[in-house]
Assembly symmetry: C3
Homo-oligomer: 445 residues x 3
């Protein structure tokens, strides 16, 4: 083989960078999209069988309505708030700009879908869809506008650091969910008159764990994929971009996930002598949430620490929300996404492999400012929307519909017509008859 | 770092193109393969619990038998019909040629597996496997032979356009399914003597929605992956290949999927006042089918339009098939894959971002010719195979076996031995006893 | 466009190789990780509903505990045994070294999780976690140390060949599972006093088949991804690495999977006249296991042969283990992973597309040595650990807990509080009543 000068131009290298980066971003975008299957299964598994179809429909519509709204409005609002003017996604100069839009959209829809887990079992479908519309159009885009797009938050040389959305996506979603659940009030029968709590177990741990593992799979796209630039073309030469440290992101994501499951299992075991399966699953997710703001900078021991604490806080915070605050956060979205996201974001300067820019104190203050700003905006906006819906009597289904189950009342379907609700259902293979829709007459309901 | 002339040859660029393209095609091929899990869950969820294992077995054997046959025969038939001579897949000059074969095979198996949803609950396993054999060996390869391989269909300078198989794969599969379901006749109890219809609800909406979301995930491989060339090496230089417009494919696929769910939800809500979960799920899929022929050329508003119409037609066409034609298309494969595929294929010239070659009229005529040719061949071939099977009494299980359920009669298993069929089953943890296998004694069966 | 000399250096090509290879390895690593969802569903589907949460928890903790241990200890042990000194994973010179660690970890965790299927329904959680700890820290690392790391096994110029872990991962896991199941003894009621066998059917074939298809999806990462180097940089130029033959790996993996399902279906049909769904699913997996040691070298007809035999042996070996050896291998992990892995590994020289180095006889002897060495170590180490646990009364739950189900006794949860166990469950949302726990006793079993 005769070596001869390469008949090409610098543009070849730029083309190489473009093609490979597009390939990578597309693959991880698909993975992040698949998290919707994870959320759907995780949430479906944690609700009563009479409300499963409702939960699934909400998940399908979160994506469908949300991504459409984010295409037409939301992405433009984000750029507007970020100082780039209103440039909606449908106006793309180059078709490949839509890859960037879709990459942003799957993050946005993750924030949106978290909320559905908190308001399960009693929110009206139209109320939920209305909120999703506003979240995708304005609420979430404002959060990304002031952070990823505008980068307005900093303190003393330290910029607010949230690599893949531990606070921007998960913290925001978890806080929004808790706020909505508070405004909406608990499911019927969740609390007794004396303030004691009834547990309403989900209908299928298998689906919940399946959802957990699908989410963990997609999360590799979420975190590792946020290292979006395989290559960069600078000063006329091709270099590794975020892929110069992608191995750290992959490692810390893995370790924090593992530590989260172990942390939650440990606390559950210490409290009750048994290892609650749902705590282990949600602990694994809390570990992932915990590291999501900081997988690019955290040391290996920091990943163990952040993940372990994010998992360990889960049973404690869940219990606090349930028993003290008496907020009915059905799928534990606040302990999993909210408090774990805040925790990881705030731990940034203390677990970094290298000292953060601006120093530890300034970096911590910048993190606090970011967390407070995002939380405040999310709480205010979410409370306003659900408050208005509640005020006009559109937030919540009627008590009759809630008792009957939302599947029948909102969707006209039954999720498992052959299973689980007694002889009359088995007998006709079809819709449940009136006497079946008594909610099982359980003391736990 | 001293810059020196790159010690390499033009072959380096070719190697780069080869390696990166192989990587991309492999990844999307895996995603498309995963659609079998989606079909398995979607279909299993839509059948009675007594027929679930049968449906799952059909899905496993569709892939196993089909891909073997396509390897030994089918790929060769496709190249033969396409004018390239009979070159079966096992004769590969270079091992990496098998990547191209596998990429083709996952599309072929998608067409094959669609049929199983239409003939659920009464087709004999051996009949179904026989049809799958012939589909993978001849029926589908003829379709790809006259289109993707031979490119024979055109009119006045306009070539038949089907980017990822909206008609070639999905339209073909949906039409084949409807044909087979017609020949086979409806399930027992599906229609009353007065012509009225009994609904036979599927046993698990959760599995159906899980399947839907797995399919949507895999569909990104299906559509975006059909933009198979990241790079091309032309005139001695490396350029973006299909990746010069891959962002459009990703965007239109996403938007049409979303619009499909919204369109179906809207029509269902308008008709009944409720949002049927299965319509939303199938609408999302119909939106995907609708765009599959044309994701590379469609404008953003066209994607909303095609997806929305594909979703909106679903409840209407389903009802027409069910009530007027009285064909028992169990999993709605015609409204989801057939009519939606035809619709999107025909809309090609009207929603394209740029005027199609040959002009709108000629392009539309070319599309009509392609749709008619594929439909005619599929109907004739499918009716012939199932007609012969029916004539020799091998198409359908006995009424006793159908009532008992195909799981027991064809497979000797019960899918859920602990659930759902009354006390006798719960008591022994094993097989259902005789009195349970009465098909529920329902008017709906 | 003016062509000018490329302003770059040889380092550009090295950077290209690094970036693209990292991208590929990350993607396939995510796919292999997702196999945990597959194992979780496959195993959950094959156990009684009273033990599902236990199985799911074991799967979650296998990953969480195992990957942590492999990070801190196991990877270091592997390098130590392999002659490279103790270099634990947390000491990485470059963050991207962690990609290599994670790639190794997902293989290690696959071996670990296989065991949980064999000991289902009676192993104590703490015993299982202890074994997982030791497997991840020492038992599996010794196996990789003497093979992939150290490459100590060879005979007459022929080196032990195990491309992706047909023996090292699957054979090892299957043999470990059988050993542990033997030490632990069968589930209560599995065998009658006269030696006859009671079948204890799993609670959901749907989950089992879902798990199968998720595993097959992930297996493309496992096998094809073991062709880990897209490019290599040698003699100053960029070449295809393992991607020079990646198409063979993809083809043989596909064909063997298909042949495995067909082989198992055929034997099941020949034996009983029916096509058992679980045999088809497990046969598909056995076909995959069979080819895993040799997808890079096997001819296309060899893939049919290896896969077909791996599938065909499944019902026979399963029956032998169950009836003759009377070992209660709940999820058939030995026939699927053990004997199929051994079979494929030993068939290496006979089905290779090109004559193996050292000749067929020497190559076969090298394979035998490798299989025997790995099997012996695995049996001894596994028997020792479970033997000690048994001796101190920590291996197995009490008969009361086993009868009650491990979900309640070990985890304090019920997987399906609304389904399947008769009226008492529907009424109280809680525990199954005594008369339900007869575990099989059916005339049909």
């Amino acid at each position: 083989m005769v070596l001869e000068p390469l008949q090409t131009s610098p543009e070849t290298l730029e083309t190489l960078v473009t093609g490979v980066n597009l390939l990578w971003v597309l693959v991880v975008t698909f993975l992040i999209f698949f998290m919707h299957a994870g959320f759907a299964m995780l949430e479906a598994g944690q609700v009563r069988s009479k409300n499963v179809a409702n939960q699934l429909t909400k998940n399908l519509l979160t994506w469908s309505v949300g991504v459409s709204v984010f295409f037409v409005i939301g992405a433009g609002v984000s750029s507007l708030v970020g100082g780039g003017g209103f440039s909606p996604a449908f106006v793309a100069e180059n078709p490949n700009d839509w890859v960037g839009w879709l990459f942003g959209a799957v993050f946005a829809m993750t924030a949106a879908t978290i909320v559905s887990g908190a308001v399960a079992g009693r929110a009206k479908l139209r109320a939920y869809v209305t909120y999703t519309f506003l979240l995708a159009a304005v609420i979430y885009p404002v959060v990304t506008g002031i952070t990823w797009a505008g980068a307005y938050i900093s303190f003393g040389g330290a910029a607010f650091h949230d690599f893949a959305g531990g606070m921007i996506v998960h913290g925001m979603g978890g806080i929004a969910g808790l706020t909505a659940a508070y405004v909406l009030g608990p499911r019927m029968g969740r609390y007794n008159e004396d303030g004691s709590v009834n547990v309403i177990p989900g209908h299928s741990l298998t689906f919940a764990v399946l959802g957990t593992l699908i989410l963990a799979f997609g999360w590799y796209g979420f975190n590792v994929g946020t290292a979006a630039s395989v290559f960069v073309f600078t000063d006329g030469s091709l270099q590794l971009g975020a892929f110069s440290y992608v191995g750290r992101v992959a490692m810390t994501t893995t370790i924090a996930m593992a530590a989260g499951a172990i942390g939650a299992a440990g606390v559950a075991w210490a409290k009750t002598g048994k290892v609650d399966t749902l705590y282990v699953a949600n602990g694994l997710l809390a570990g992932l949430v915990g590291i999501t703001a900081i997988p690019d900078t955290t040391s290996w021991w920091g990943a163990f620490l952040v993940g372990g604490l994010a998992g360990a806080q889960l049973p404690i915070v869940f219990s606090f929300i349930e028993k003290r605050l008496q907020i009915d956060d059905v799928c534990a979205v606040f302990p999993v996404h909210g408090s774990a996201g805040v925790l990881g974001t705030l731990m940034f300067p203390f677990v970094a492999a290298e000292a953060p820019a601006g120093g530890i104190v300034n970096a911590f203050i910048a993190q606090v400012i970011g967390v407070v700003a995002i939380a405040a905006w999310t709480i205010v906006a979410t409370a306003a929307v659900w408050g208005v819906l509640k005020a006009i009597g559109q937030a919540r289904v009627t008590p009759e519909h809630e008792q009957e189950g939302l599947d029948v009342s909102e969707h006209g379907v039954e999720t498992y017509p052959e299973f689980g609700s007694g002889e009359s259902v088995v007998a006709d293979g079809g819709m449940v008859s009136e006497n079946v829709r008594t909610d099982g007459g359980s003391k736990d309901d």
